[in-house]
């Protein structure tokens, strides 16, 4: 990279996985990058010394990993300690080390270069393996190689923290559990990585620490160097490197607003969501990880309206045991600040289960063998989760939610298996298993909405999943970028579907919640309020603003807006009406979005 590039401004777009804005100096965490030098040894006599240097780095790496493992165990971190086991075994793998030594000897190159060749060798082999899971294990080899390289270059401390007291933004290709275990997390302002998605390790750590993070930036490590000024906008999914002064000022301003707004709004979070004419709505939070509970409560969640359990299956390679489920759920349902917790049984397709991978290459997985359909086929996997839910339901108010129900038969079958799980527990002598648990279904498949009255006879509550309901009812693939303009929660058909569900539920005397993104959209709140949904569950950041609007309106106003919105024939008309109304009525809440 030439000198003048160092101050060039780059704006990169990735996936925002943890909201907020961080501004600070970059710490480039990636020893596989340019600072590693590759060179030929001057003469053969240097070979033994080079081999020794390599062996020493291997030994040091192993000792470090053993240390990390010990600390993880001591801290009772649920992080899979075995991953580090695998890394240690790679370090000790003779095939791996002998190959590297051979490269040093045969080609007269330094250890770094030889190691790089070994990595390339394994890359080629792993790429050739048919099994996706196995071929992705090359990342483990990469982590190990990175660590050895760090030791070779003498960067013993992995993370250089002598960057002043202002903290750093960690920029890396990827961050492994072992890496974060060694980071001083209180010195980190934000994260930006080349790879990763919402469930990547970086994303999870960032969310639990409430630090802004953007992942999936592809090649940020190529543009940025340690000590560069970096802005991470985790809300917009953007990273700016070396912002020019005006831009920096704008972002500092934005960050101040964000922080102030956060503090301001947090006050509303504490208050109940009651309209001026005394109509109260229950406000829940959608979570995926137990680490999110503290921020959910801080932002004003009264309950967990949706606890997604997919994570338990994805972030590991074996199946979670009943105890794994139980230990996670227990921490949710026993939280004294939550009135109830709704656990949704896993919504996954076979592709997430290693041994089903091959048979589950589906053309249209969104409509494929997933969620309840998969569970009803793989009863044993399903029961493990159900048993754990029964057990925690004795410890705190627990509701169970079945995803993707499209018929009465499915919910009956699911209930039958749920009851079997209960009987089994009782027969095994497990104490305190309750007689019953609140059973709900996701209303996200159009056929379920059409027969909502029939389904209401089967369950204790509904929860409307707008994301999928919109995608299925409007027949748009959410992943298809060319169709995003059609994805419209305010489509008249969508509004009617939601209204159908609410009416069917209330006629049957059961509660109805909404847990899709629409529930946390301030633009839609009066409409949802007018429909008389009993609970709205959303991401924690949306809660304060939603509560604030509810507290400043009346049911009468909400019904008026709803009726007017329902009178239009087209989605653009509904949107333009609602938008104008909300912006005029709650100017403070919507101004920021003009930015």
């Amino acid at each position: 990279m030439s000198a003048d590039q160092s101050t060039k401004t780059f704006v990169l777009k990735g996936v925002g996985v943890s909201p907020g804005i961080a501004i600070g100096r970059c710490y480039r965490f990636d020893p596989l990058g340019s600072q590693i030098s590759f060179y030929k040894l001057k003469d053969e006599s240097l070979v033994p010394k080079e081999v020794q240097r390599f062996r020493k780095a291997l030994k040091e790496s192993e000792e470090q990993l053993l240390d990390i493992q010990k600390n993880l165990r001591k801290a009772k971190i649920t992080e899979p300690v075995y991953v580090i086991d695998v890394h240690i075994l790679i370090l000790k793998d003779k095939m791996f080390s002998n190959r590297t030594v051979k490269y040093i000897r045969d080609q007269g190159i330094n250890a770094e270069w030889a190691l790089r060749m070994t990595l390339d060798h394994y890359k080629q082999i792993f790429e050739g393996v048919q099994d996706d899971y196995i071929s992705s294990r090359i990342s483990d080899v990469q982590y190990v190689v990175q660590r050895i390289l760090r030791n070779l270059t003498g960067e013993k401390h992995e993370i250089v923290w002598e960057v002043g007291n202002n903290g750093v933004i960690v920029v890396s290709h990827d961050i492994s559990p072992a890496d974060t275990a060694q980071m001083k997390l209180d010195k980190i302002l934000g994260f930006a990585t080349d790879s990763g998605g919402r469930t990547s390790h970086t994303a999870i750590v960032a969310r639990s620490l409430e630090l802004p993070a953007v992942v999936g930036l592809d090649d940020i490590t190529h543009y940025v160097r340690t000590d560069d000024e970096v802005i991470v906008d985790g809300t917009a999914g953007m990273v700016v490197i070396n912002p020019y002064p005006d831009m920096l000022k704008r972002y500092e301003e934005k960050k101040r607003h964000y922080d102030v707004a956060n503090d301001e709004y947090l006050k509303f979070g504490k208050l109940p969501a009651v309209t001026l004419d005394n109509y109260e709505v229950q406000i829940g939070c959608n979570i995926e990880f137990i680490e999110e509970i503290p921020s959910a409560i801080a932002h004003g969640a009264e309950s967990i309206g949706l606890y997604r359990t997919e994570f338990l299956y994805i972030y590991r390679e074996d199946l979670p045991t009943e105890e794994d489920h139980f230990n996670n759920y227990r921490q949710v349902v026993t939280n004294p600040n939550l009135s109830s917790s709704t656990i949704r049984t896993f919504d996954l397709g076979g592709d997430k289960f290693a041994n089903y991978q091959k048979q589950s290459k589906e053309l249209n997985p969104q409509m494929g063998m997933r969620a309840i359909r998969f569970c009803l086929k793989e009863v044993e996997i399903f029961k493990t989760q159900l048993r754990a839910i029964w057990r925690v339901s004795a410890l705190g108010k627990t509701k169970i939610l079945f995803p993707m129900i499209s018929s009465v038969e499915e919910i009956r079958e699911a209930k039958k298996i749920l009851e079997e799980a209960r009987q089994e527990l009782i027969e095994e002598g497990v104490n305190n298993i309750p007689e019953k648990i609140d059973i709900g279904i996701m209303m996200e498949v159009p056929s379920a909405v059409v027969i909502a009255d029939k389904l209401a006879q089967e369950v204790d509550f509904f929860s409307i999943g707008t994301n999928d309901l919109i995608q299925y009812s409007l027949a748009i693939d959410r992943a298809n970028e060319r169709l995003t303009y059609m994805y419209e929660p305010l489509h008249p058909a969508v509004l009617r579907l939601i209204q159908n569900v609410v009416e069917a539920a209330h006629q049957a005397g059961i509660e109805v919640a909404m847990c899709g993104e629409m529930a946390g959209d301030p633009l839609c709140i009066l409409i949802l309020l007018g429909m008389k949904l009993d609970e709205l569950s959303m991401n924690h950041l949306a809660i304060p603003r939603i509560k604030k609007i509810i507290r400043e309106t009346t049911m009468e106003e909400a019904e008026t807006v709803l009726n007017k919105a329902l009178s239009f024939s087209t989605a653009p008309e509904v949107r333009s009406y609602v938008q104008d109304y909300m912006v005029n009525r709650f100017p403070e809440e919507f101004i920021a979005e003009e930015d």
Partner: protein, 89 residues
Amino acid sequence: MTQTKTLALKNKLGMHARAAASFVKVAQQFDSKIYIERDGQTVDGNSILDILTLACPYGGKLTITAEGTDAAVAIKELEKLIENKFGEE
């Protein structure tokens, strides 16, 4: 002494990282040389990377060979590990 045994993997995930790690850990306890063969490909039973590249799925057959004084015990222990599904489930 050389001992050989052919076994099918019973754990649902097949020979994945965790299982391979358990295998190597057991194999390392013996003086015998351990080899695994699958579909004509033979790898070192002490090399986690080699074992992984076999990509042996659930139900897949492996032939384990041990050469050395403690070959019989080694085979017995490795068989036990596979029969116990590597402690999974």
